[in-house]
């Protein structure tokens, strides 16, 4: 994709990664992704972030299209050091020989640890620092733990643009650059998936920093994340900020997710019976086999659910590895305000539901009694599962009011 002038003399010069499916090695990006970065033509020509290293050719080409083949870049602004954004930094420093590289205090440490550089012209810009590019100024806002210690936002009052790096991002490869050019519902889905799998544990920071953007008195007319579509116009900027405040609040919906693995289909049958009990009480249910669903897809559903039911048979006095994997992944993302319960079958010893219940309870979930079945469920034990579903539904209703 060619550079796009998003405001006068401000260019999107990113790369669209149509084939990316494995995002950072742990999450899925079913629709690809983009690495957005920006070039500002002012007295001081400024590059904001870079792209993933495999797109170094694209980046150089885009810069040349805007500035000509003898491009000179004075300033680099590095909002975050993760390789999908800073991947080309070392090559870009060598090629363009910037006068200054601006980054956050933690960014400087991360930059050193990533690139082991010597003699780079790095200047640390804590919150409140502003620099002049000529006609424009850039203001820097530290955003520690949104989602790394080095994360930083950059604001340009003259352009009314907030460059937000990973905040407000979505994994979606498109030929369009702006949110108002695509269908809103899939955009919202991509945003929620991204939030659930990447930003969720830092919800307290989102609440403190992004929900208070209005209080900072920033006049924002464009929000430019480093992945996916950009937001232009006050209405869309407010829309995306409001969405993030909603995600950060983690208010549960009338929805339950049952994830499970099964050996001989007993736990699977139990999951179906629990789901029927929930659905009969009007709760929206997702039954997610971990053989059929990747952990990040499960997490995208868990994020706004009121209840999470984990299912596994007992296997060698423990639980099946896919379930263990899911629980570890979910724990790291620290979901809040959930009801938890467990189901599982067993052959001789039956530790499964205790292990599952402990894992969910340790995440702070309000627990409903589990159901455990020896070998194969009967009509009676299926009925117990159905009743468990109804009990969970009652707890959901009490919770969401």
């Amino acid at each position: 994709m060619k550079p796009v002038e998003i405001k006068k003399d401000v260019f999107w010069i990113g790369a669209v990664d149509w084939n990316r499916r494995n995002f950072h090695g742990y999450s899925l990006s079913h629709k690809g992704t983009t690495y957005n970065n920006f070039l500002i033509k002012d007295e001081k020509v400024t590059l904001i972030d870079t792209v993933s290293e495999e797109f170094w050719g694209t980046l150089q080409c885009n810069i040349a299209q805007v500035l000509g083949k003898d491009a000179k870049i004075d300033y680099f602004v590095i909002n975050h050091l993760e390789p999908d954004h800073a991947g080309c930094l070392a090559k870009a420093v060598e090629k363009y020989q910037p006068e200054k590289i601006y980054t956050s205090p933690m960014g400087q440490k991360a930059m050193m640890a990533h690139f082991h550089y010597e003699n780079w012209p790095v200047e640390v810009v804590p919150t409140g620092t502003e620099i002049s590019l000529g006609a424009r100024t850039l203001h820097f806002i530290e955003a520690r733990m949104l989602h790394w210690p080095d994360s930083m936002l950059t604001y340009c009052p003259e352009d009314k643009i907030l460059y937000t790096n990973d905040a407000f991002g979505q994994n979606w490869a498109t030929s369009e650059r702006f949110a108002d050019e695509v269908d809103r519902y899939p955009l919202e889905q991509r945003m929620q998936e991204y939030y659930a799998n990447i930003v969720l544990p830092y919800s307290p920071v989102v609440e403190k920093l992004l929900c208070s953007l209005g209080d900072m008195g920033l006049d924002i007319d464009m929000i430019c994340p480093d992945h996916g579509l950009l937001f232009r116009g006050k209405e869309d900027c407010q829309w995306v900020v409001d969405k993030y405040c909603e995600y950060a609040a983690q208010k549960p919906k009338n929805k339950a997710v049952i994830f499970y693995d099964t050996m001989w289909h007993s736990t699977e049958k139990m999951a179906e019976a629990v789901a029927t009990g929930l659905a009969d009480e009007g709760v929206s249910v997702r039954i997610m086999s971990l053989k059929a669903n990747h952990h990040s897809d499960v997490m995208s559903e868990v994020v706004d659910a009121a209840a999470v039911i984990a299912g596994s048979p007992t296997h060698n006095n423990g639980i099946l590895p896919l379930v263990s994997n899911m629980l570890t992944y979910m724990k790291g993302l620290r979901p809040q305000n959930k009801i938890g319960s467990a189901i599982g079958s067993f052959g001789w010893s039956g530790e499964c539901v205790k292990i599952l219940s402990t894992a969910l309870s340790d995440m702070g979930m309000e627990m409903i009694d589990p159901v455990k079945v020896k070998h194969v469920p009967t009509h009676d034990t299926m009925q117990q599962c159905y009743e468990q579903g109804k009990a969970i539904a009652a707890a959901i209703k009490a919770k969401i009011g």
């Binding site: 530290e142 520690r144 733990m145 210690p149 544990p201 830092y202 920071v205």
Partner: protein
Amino acid sequence: MQKYVCDICGYVYDPEVGDPDNDIAPGTSFDDLPDDWTCPICGADKDSFSPEA
């Protein structure tokens, strides 16, 4: 009482406030926090904290 700052993310543990989200009552000094207590923002352990200047 002495406040402690997380070297990783900058969160400040204020003993007067405690850490209500993790059942740490107001008035709990940093030294009295359980050994397995972690930073509520970034998850770093107690060793990652320094006294606030």
